[in-house]
Symmetry: C2
Subunit: 413 residues, 2 copies
């Protein structure tokens, strides 16, 4: 495809999605949930076709020499398909937030309400993971937004099969306009950049995953006036206060490094300088038991260096001293992207000082930053995590966040 | 000042504001309101000094040949100073939204809350109107945000006097860190551009006023990853449905053109094509009685052309046919920036179709779009109106909107 063709393909998807958007916006709650339920039912029914398409992607990926981790995330099997169906079924059961709320009576016999209206068309870019296709499509549907999805070329056959066998038929079966959800059907990487440069057509783009690609796409989107929900960088911070219980510290550290490739894992461990030696011993035992190395001062990297993105060195945690709870919170605020920070302490005053100073999307006391996740915190799936320091959806973003505020004035009664 | 000096001045303001931000963030509600009350009390006490500085600005403006409208907005007098004080006093009495709300219990004896934390440092750029200096400063204070204010050079002496005589002493009198609110003390226009290119220091900038300057600053901000709250373009839309009562139509038209330089005035009047002639006669009478000309089809300008920004032709309203309520809403959605649109009709079904299709920040039935204003809708002053089609503060933005969402996890009890 030429650059012109790729641009045309993204525009065509955006326009088709826009044409279908009104159908979703007007749909009653139960129709939206019918479409989700149909999606959950079709997934196992159409598993053979989906798995056949996925086998092509995997074979092509192997031939192209993709890494084992990438191939593992790319590969679908019967249990994974059933798990995808189960999660969509759960989403169908989540109640909708109130669409409209009374604000106050106005002079002249009028009443003011605040209402949620869909954004319209939302873009989503994600790496070559087939399950994310239905994950994002189902959440856009639940939020009544049309969407343009773009996945890594390695998963394109799988994503196309999921669209053709599951997503489009499910949306149509509920009587909705199936143009609303579109897949960009080119493996060309340029499609990602095209997705973030159409503010009039696609004003908001969800960027899944972190690292350099997300960072660059977010910058390009900003330059074109397109808003993104993303976190290019992450990393949890844990501060062991001078009043930290050693056993609880050890437990929370272990729970914070159960997975090492995720953004909310423990990345920077701060220890009160007055209790540095004993708590460092506790931390060392807990980290080494989990097979994680400590990067101790003096560091040859920035304090916030994100190990999850450092291929081959994921099993590392930076350890550094802090002067107290407020100092620890300030380090988290200033040296990291502000995803989540926690304190371990038995001292309520210290916890209060820490929580009062934290400005990140999550501030935790005696809890692991691994909780910073839509499902764990709110019981509903997230479209991703956003770390912008501006008003609006922040932290785990769920379907409830994907709407616009609108004021409605009507005659009373 | 050289470009380097201007950049340095803005950075110095940003850093000073940041240094003072923690004091505001930690302040109890009553201390914030004490500072506002002190501001309201100091304004009349220091009126002489403020008016003397303002007289210098006005004299310089007259010597520079500024237009009458600009000079009128620049000029302060005793009644205007008292009105500014009265409004700050009202703001001090507005209750604060809850700082924290319980969300749900989590496993492991933990509880989840959702909390509002200040943004930190917010920028504000506005034209040479001295009253906006205290208006913006007081709203930033009420939202617990530090701020960097930049006004047009013509009002700089007035703004500096308001800072030195009123704002800074009031903040200090309440025991808060008066570095939190800063004025960029250079008349150089380049300061506005500098204000929107420091995402790490000033992540959010309020752009007051509309037109080309705002449009350019918003684009520059976006390119630098700075979020703005702004509406470069506006214009209210009113649709007279086939079931519109003529007397009510006439009344709402008149109420919609009571001021012609504002963004929420009637700009585009749509009339059901089936009742075009009789309702056009009603509209013509109402508009001509208000001294407003009709721009009838065929138009030599885009349907959404904003007359408020068209110097010398402000007293014009575009009139065009629409095929029905949904068509009228679509025209408002697609041909205007989506500020506010209203329908006049006695037919609840038509009103429903119109309101269901509108995607602007305000959707009104039998009411004027002039209501799209923080004070008229919500009873509190607005920092401005934002028309972004993305989640977050939208429509009239008030101090309540100027915060970040943060999730807090703590041990229960």
């Amino acid at each position: 495809m030429t650059a012109h063709d790729v641009a045309g393909a993204v525009t065509a998807c955006g326009e088709a999605a826009k044409a279908g958007a009104a159908s979703l916006a007007a749909a009653p709650d139960e129709v939206i949930d019918q479409a989700l339920t149909a999606m959950a039912a079709l997934l196992p029914q159409r598993a053979d076709a989906v798995l056949a398409a996925n086998a092509e992607d995997v074979a092509a990926g192997e031939a192209a020499g993709l890494g084992r981790g990438v191939l593992d995330r790319l590969r679908l099997d019967q249990p994974r398909v059933f798990e995808m169906a189960r999660q969509i079924g759960l989403l169908a059961q989540v109640p909708f937030p109130p669409g409209e709320e009374h604000v106050r009576d106005l002079p002249g016999g009028l009443v003011l309400a605040q209402r949620r209206v869909p954004v319209g068309v939302i873009g989503a870019n994600y790496e070559a993971r087939p399950n994310v296709t239905v994950d994002v499509a189902s959440q856009l549907l639940k939020s009544r937004n049309a969407g343009v999805l773009r996945t890594g070329g390695a998963a394109l056959e799988s994503a196309a099969a999921l669209f053709d066998q599951v997503i489009v038929p499910a949306v149509a079966a509920a009587g909705l306009d199936s143009r609303a959800l579109q897949l960009v059907r080119t493996p060309d990487r340029a499609a990602a950049a095209e997705l973030v440069r159409r503010p009039g057509l696609i004003p908001l783009v969800i960027l899944r995953g972190s690292g350099q690609t997300t960072r660059e796409l977010a910058a390009q989107a900003a330059a074109h006036g397109v808003r993104t929900l993303a976190h290019a960088d992450g990393g949890g911070v844990l501060y062991l206060d001078r009043a930290a219980d050693p056993a609880l510290s050890s437990h929370i550290i272990a729970a914070s490094v159960d997975r090492l490739g995720v953004c909310n894992r423990l990345n920077l461990l701060l220890i009160h300088s007055a209790t540095w030696e004993p708590l460092l011993a506790v931390a060392r035992d807990a980290l080494e038991a989990a097979g994680v190395a400590l990067s101790l001062p003096p560091h040859d990297h920035p304090l916030g260096h994100e190990w999850a993105l450092d291929a081959g060195r994921e099993a590392t945690v930076t350890v550094a001293p802090a002067g107290g709870p407020a100092d620890a919170a300030r380090i988290a605020n200033e040296q990291t992207p502000g995803l989540a920070a926690g304190i371990v302490t038995a001292d309520a005053g210290a916890a209060g000082a820490f929580l009062a100073t934290c400005t990140g999307t999550g501030a935790f006391w005696n809890a692991t930053t691994r909780l910073l996740d839509g499902f764990k915190l709110l019981g509903i799936p997230e479209t991703g995590i956003n770390v912008d320091h501006v008003p609006g959806p922040r932290g785990p973003v769920t379907f409830r966040d994907l709407s616009l505020r609108q004021y409605v004035v009507r005659p009373a009664g």
